[in-house]
């Protein structure tokens, strides 16, 4: 093949690529996905860790590692006058897996019935080695991925989830979730386990989570 042929092919590829980019640029919002999505948009006050923010906030915003810090004595419900209702808590079934731990996700609705803003800052549970607040977002929303990621979804840890006074935040598939890592046992449909939610102002609250299919 002659160099001219190569050049022609390359030109054709470039033109196609250009057309594709234009086409994609024109329809980012097209064909919005159906059942799932972001219930927590920017207004709901999800604070991404500094690493995930387009403009870094003042220095080392401390990551609120989910977990071990404020674990209440097991079996006791710690209610510190919180006006936060945690409703419809459920988690996906998961089997133990070879090689490394298996994971699951827990979902619930937070309803702040009080007159003061609050925020969920960490989560822990006995059934998982680690529990973290995560959010699934279209890759394009992160500003960290190029336009080729138009169909891609990404997951990012979040520092805390703000629930304004009188407000509701829904954790659900394709959006906010608690990622349960290194599960210590199988989560079978019908099982129940306890999840400790720690709020910035309201303190710790233990909720019962039902394992079920979505």
């Amino acid at each position: 093949m002659t160099p001219l042929h190569h050049a022609l092919r390359r030109a054709r590829t470039l033109v196609l690529a250009g057309a594709l980019l234009l086409a994609l640029a024109g329809c980012q919002q097209k064909e919005a996905s159906g059942e799932y999505g972001q219930h927590a948009d920017n207004q709901s006050g999800v604070a991404a860790p500094a690493a995930n923010q387009a403009t870094p906030p003042g220095g080392g915003q401390e990551t609120q590692a989910a977990g071990t810090g404020s674990q209440p004595a097991s079996g006791t419900t710690v209610q510190t006058g919180s006006a936060m209702a945690v409703e419809n808590a459920w988690a996906r079934p998961a089997k133990p897996m070879p090689d490394m731990g298996s994971s699951s996700a827990a979902y619930f609705v937070l309803r702040n019935t009080g007159s003061e803003d609050d925020a969920l800052v960490s989560v822990s549970t006995d059934v998982a080695g680690k529990a973290e607040l995560h959010e699934t977002v279209p890759a394009q929303q992160t500003g960290q991925h190029d336009h080729n990621a138009s169909d891609a979804m990404t997951m990012r840890p979040v520092d805390k989830v703000a629930v304004p006074a009188g407000g509701t935040v829904e954790f659900r598939p394709g959006g906010l979730h608690v990622m349960l890592m290194d599960l210590k046992r199988e989560l079978a449909v019908g099982d129940r386990f306890q999840l400790t939610l720690t709020f910035e102002k309201g303190g710790a609250q233990i909720v019962e989570v039902e394992v079920r299919e979505p």
């Binding site: 092919r9 799932y36 995560h134 991925h145 997951m155």
Partner: protein, 207 residues
């Protein structure tokens, strides 16, 4: 090789156009005439063939599935939200189809070959999906070629502040390969199971 990448580009372009704008009106209309959901190429291009390894260590060749509808998507076993959601949706699709489900093969191709062993993939797809689901892996080169040919974006994102170590941003579409080996349509994440089931019924009835 070069021809292949051109083909992939052309395919991607036709999908992109099918989904938006005046340029795509003709092909969107054609897709609507066939009444399939999602984004369809018109005419549907052949689904790029591949051979990977299933959860039992056996080779799985896409073109050996002729006669069945294959629902193909991409994910990884440390993915707690998007991938199980899609697996659950596709399990519902097979449930909705009743007896027709025997003509439907659901296939997950890993985007995380370093962490996803065949055994792990098997446990993952059969527990979040159903026992007929197939999980595929292979060497990275072979996988990258499949990702590229299907236009699947795959990027490893370090997550130092998280115990997961890294997450993988990946294309979340579901690809429907018709019994004649054509890429009939692709669905965005979250497309309702009943829509996909309706498309499959239509295809199986020769619609």
């Amino acid at each position: 090789m070069h021809r292949k990448s051109l083909l992939a580009l052309a395919m991607a372009l036709s999908f992109a156009l099918a989904g938006c704008g005046a340029l795509g009106a003709g092909s969107r209309q054609a897709a609507q005439q066939r009444n399939l959901h999602g984004l369809s190429g018109e005419p549907p291009p052949p689904a790029p063939d591949f051979t990977l390894t299933d959860q039992n260590g056996k080779p799985f060749r896409l073109s050996d599935q002729r006669g069945k509808v294959v629902l193909l998507f991409f994910g990884y076993t440390s993915c707690p939200d998007v991938c199980p959601t899609t697996l659950g949706d596709l399990r519902r699709v097979r449930k909705l189809l009743g007896n027709d489900a025997e003509h439907v093969k659901v296939v997950l191709v890993t985007v995380d070959p370093e962490r996803d062993s065949p055994e792990r993939l098997g446990t993952y797809v059969t527990s979040a999906g159903d026992p007929t689901f197939v999980g595929l892996t292979g060497d990275r080169r072979a996988l990258e070629q499949v990702w590229r040919e299907y236009g699947v974006f795959v990027q490893r994102d370090p997550a130092p502040e998280s115990a997961v170590g890294y997450t993988i941003t990946h294309g979340a579409r579901v690809y429907l390969v018709s019994p004649d080996g054509k890429l009939a349509t692709t669905y965005a994440f979250g497309t309702p199971a009943k829509d996909i089931a309706a498309d499959i019924r239509r295809i199986l009835q020769g619609g």
